[in-house]
């Protein structure tokens, strides 16, 4: 599934770019993130506990940052798998100065597999949007 959107951060592009690569910020902002441990250059191991309505599940996964072009763009990849299935999100984040801040636009792809893909079809779009919004809200905070 394709995803795209944008979010305004009240920071100059350089800072916005930095903030979105800060593992501490990522750990706090990623919905459900319980731990984020560096395992390599721009690569982290992540444990997540997702809870949405009655759905809940633990995911084990990775976060990876690639194609860095500071302060213009980088690629963020998040993947996780658990008993209920797996998910993989990949997005190119672009940073454009706007009104004394930065517009962060993203464009990418979300893949979901396993039971959640088969029964959650009608909710994947909305849930992805909600997670992304929560993420940026935290990043901005």
């Amino acid at each position: 599934m394709k995803i795209s959107g944008s979010y305004f951060l009240p920071l100059p592009p350089e800072q916005a770019y930095q903030r979105l690569q800060d593992s501490q910020v990522l750990a706090e902002a990623m919905p459900g993130c319980e731990s984020l441990d560096k395992i390599g250059e721009d690569e982290y191991r992540m444990k997540m506990k997702m809870a949405l309505a009655s759905l809940s599940g633990n995911f084990d996964g990775k976060v990876r940052i690639t194609e860095q072009s500071p302060p213009n763009s980088f690629k963020l990849m998040v993947e996780g798998s658990g008993k209920v299935g797996f998910m993989k999100g990949e997005g190119l984040l672009k940073f454009t100065p706007k009104d004394a801040g930065t517009e962060v636009s993203y464009e990418g792809d979300v893949q979901v597999g396993g039971t959640i893909a088969a029964v959650g079809q009608r909710l994947i779009d909305g849930t992805a949007k909600m997670m992304i919004k929560r993420f940026f809200d935290k990043v901005a905070a």
């Binding site: 309505a53 009655s54 759905l55 809940s56 029964v119 909710l123 909305g126």
Partner: protein, 284 residues
Amino acid sequence: MIPQQFEYSAPKTLDEALGLLAEGARPLAGGMSLIPMMKLRLSNPEHLVDLGRIKDLSYIREQGTVIHIGATTTHHDVESSPLLRGKCPLLAETASHIGDVQVRNMGTIGGSVAHADPAADYPAALQALEAKIVLKGAKSERTVSAADFFVDTFTTALESGEIVREVIVPVDGSGTGTSYQKVLQPASGFAIVGIAVRVRKQGDKVAMARIGVTGLSNRAFRATAAEKALEGRSGSPAEIQAVAALVGQGVDANSDLHASADYRLHLASVYAAKALAVALGRIA
């Protein structure tokens, strides 16, 4: 289709239930959403508290200008209640659109509201009715408006340990016309779009318009721009069309296999027009 092991309690009193919930148990009402998720092991609660045996949690009572509906009141009870059909017909009509007969016999208003599925039927009506939702925890009770209750996809104002205790809807006297119109997703029965309309006229002008929308986006909401545009007008067919077109304005619409965002927005406008026309026509 086999759930994990879980503990099950069926207390007789609300206090007992709230005590267990405060310890981390999860509430079970009609189970129409929770149990399928448990069978698929997408939901694995360790302890379920069945609210169905609690005395005096299933009721429909008129009190002055409002009607109180207990949390475990089934959709069927709402749909078939003479009191609601007479004095809050929008809620009864909406209940009749939920799922199928089996779901309506088991599912409850409290469960549906607390679950806050973005495509559930009740939330549209509750928004249009400006309903109040009473939330009860072990040591607290508070009342929030429907507008504040439905926060996001499956996300409500409920705090952990709290349950929906009752829903309070206004008595709609004569002079009010209502309608719920729904585009059904044929596989699941959920709303692709559901529009609840409640209108009142003074003379030949619309004095009050409330439009609740479900299925279109991340949560049920009130289409306030459309409401404002109708108030003060006569509700002519041309006005209805113009007002209906505002319902989806600025909304980040959902998209899935059954309906793209564009189609959903289009349906919202078509069904809003339908609901407005029916509701205006029903003003006695």
